[in-house]
Amino acid sequence: MNLATTENASSRNAAAAGASPILRVQDLVVTYYTDLGRARALDGVSFTLEAGMKMGMVGESGSGKSTLALAMMRMIKPPGRIEGGHVWVGGTDLQSLDDEGMRKARLSKIAYIPQGAMNSLNPVTRIGEQMVDAIKSHLSGESRQAINDRCVWALKSVDLDPGVFHMYAHELSGGMKQRVCIAIGILLRPEVIIADEPTSALDVVTQRQVMETIDKVQDELNSAVILIGHDMGLMAQTMDRVAVMYAGRLVEVATVREMFTDPKHPYSQALISSLPTLDNRGQFKGIPGLAPSLLRLPSGCAFHPRCPLASDRSRSEKPKVNVLPGGRLVACHIYDQES
């Protein structure tokens, strides 16, 4: 963990705290109707994010991180369905838009940088064509010169040579492809950028470059960024805020500093204490038990079978989201009195 950047992040966090949120997600519910039954992949997720803020989204595989991203883009495919909730970007409720309106909102209001950047570019057309078609399908009146300028600006913003415009995906390295995806993501200066594990297929050096690139374009656009990933170290170094997901619910949202020094939710506590530190080499603390199947979620709090602090209430009643002093969100019965 890099304390200097963490401090830096929390000071920025404080500065942005006064701003009104650019992104508001409220009670988002997504269900997958599988042959084995209904899987509630998102169970009433709510949070807000201000412009210029970076939020990391962590959680085990299957906890609903990617589903959240897809639901915000309204890209949940059958057998999945968005069954409720709202996503406000700026003043627009994305859930209320018609299909054509949502198509236009993608990339221009809310952009998604994909998980598998290795395969996210069309192998048979030039990078330039894939940037130009994105612009043209949103800004039909844009002149050729303006489109070209926009592409050059986007490529330069992600530290790529404008010559990449004329290249094919197979002529680029993994890091370059990921940066091309970021360049495409920022083409229309979106207010919200969702990056789904943008660094998971890259080596650490390239990871750092890509994160710096995301940082840089965010400073330029002042958008809100949501980064989905597993890498807690990366989150600690680059994010302002961390959200922890468990079994389709947001269990805790806190600033990076608070999350790493004083996690409140028992799951976050277990997650943070499972991180290896320099002091206790070779000793790892896991979280006992397994992540629950979404088809058969435990009653009450989904974490209670693995929770050392579980009470009878945890077993019977779903905890509501408590707002603690400082704006932290925790979904646990322990804090019911405090809020």
Partner: protein, 332 residues
């Protein structure tokens, strides 16, 4: 595309043609049958020959066709002739050369094949692509199914069925032949329409027989491609459905189909030869059939060799087109 690749591909093409012509040369010479002797024996049955005459004639003809020379010398002469596209004389229609006979019959086969291949490739691949695309309307996806069911029916059987129902029962289209009896071929509009009407049923038999194959392979490919990350990302970019379908989905699914086209050419030619025969068109199929019946060996070998060379050349052409479609193979 670099020069080395072209040179490599062309030398491979030459090798294929050489191998084909060598096989065509040696295989019939392993056979105990003697085309000349059989032919003259047939003539002799009609009478009017002295006993020694036949032997003299055969010796004469052997000399004329160079068959009395050592095998290796014959082979070298033969290879030289192949390079000049000279397949020798027809035994049956002497002094017509094999090249003459092929070039007279070729247009019928060529245009029938060209038209049906392109048509079934386009229809089949479009239907296959549509039926694998999750956002296509349900009724449009259903169209592909009957074509898939027809895949199992060989073009010849299909031709017979078409002849019976459309030609014989409904009398919508003529039953066979290149054009109506009594019309003298000329460059008029009426003649062109007449020829086209006669081509309809054979073309339909070939198209119906091959569309289903394209639908099946395209659908299999389409199911894979529609789940690719770049198709998903295209949707995240907010592109319209039509553009994603065309530029991201169709362009990528078509790549293996072009390879498939090269592989299908051989089968297509074979079924065209048979279907032509069924409909009495004076194409290569009929010439080949007549030649086989009358033991006209030079014509048989000429046609076999010609088809082999044609397919080899077409496959080479497709291989040169492929890098234009897929930039990833350009630098290899």
């Amino acid at each position: 595309m670099n020069f080395k690749l072209i040179a490599k591909r062309l030398s491979f093409l030459v090798l294929v043609i050489w191998a084909a012509s060598t096989i065509v040369f040696f295989v019939p010479r392993l056979s105990p049958r003697n085309a000349l002797r059989e032919r003259f024996a047939e003539l002799a049955r009609s009478g009017g020959f002295a006993p020694g005459d036949i032997e003299k004639l055969i010796t004469n003809m052997n000399q004329q066709f160079g068959l009395d020379k050592p095998l290796l010398e014959q082979y070298w002469t033969y290879l030289g002739n192949i390079i000049r596209m000279d397949f020798g004389y027809s035994l049956n229609r002497y002094p017509a050369t094999v090249t003459d006979i092929i070039s007279q019959a070729l247009p019928w086969t060529f245009f029938l094949l060209l038209f049906t291949t392109i048509l079934s490739f386009i229809i089949g691949n479009l239907l296959g692509a549509i039926s694998a695309w999750p956002k296509s309307p349900r009724w449009l996806r259903g169209i592909a199914t009957p074509f898939v069911l027809l895949t199992g029916v060989p073009p010849v059987i299909m031709g017979v069925l078409l002849l019976f129902f459309i030609g014989f029962r409904l009398k919508l289209l003529p039953l066979g032949g290149p054009y109506s009896i009594g019309i003298v071929p000329n460059w008029s509009w009426d003649f062109a329409v007449d020829v086209l009407r006669h081509q309809m049923l054979p073309a339909l038999a070939l198209v119906l027989g091959s569309v289903g194959g394209w639908v099946l392979s395209m659908r299999g490919m389409g199911v894979t491609i529609q789940g690719e990350d770049y198709v998903n990302f295209a949707e995240h970019k907010g592109l319209t459905g039509g553009r994603i379908f065309r530029d991201y989905y169709l362009r990528n699914t078509l790549l293996p189909q072009v390879t498939g086209l090269a592989l299908a050419l051989g089968t297509l030619v074979t079924s065209a030869l048979v279907v032509e025969q069924l409909f009495g068109l004076p194409g290569l199929g009929q010439v080949l059939n007549n030649a086989i019946r009358s033991n006209d060996f030079p014509v048989i070998y000429g046609i076999v060799l010609f088809i082999t060379i044609a397919i080899a050349v077409l496959m080479a052409v497709l291989e040169f087109i492929y890098p234009l479609l897929d930039p990833r193979v350009r630098n290899q």
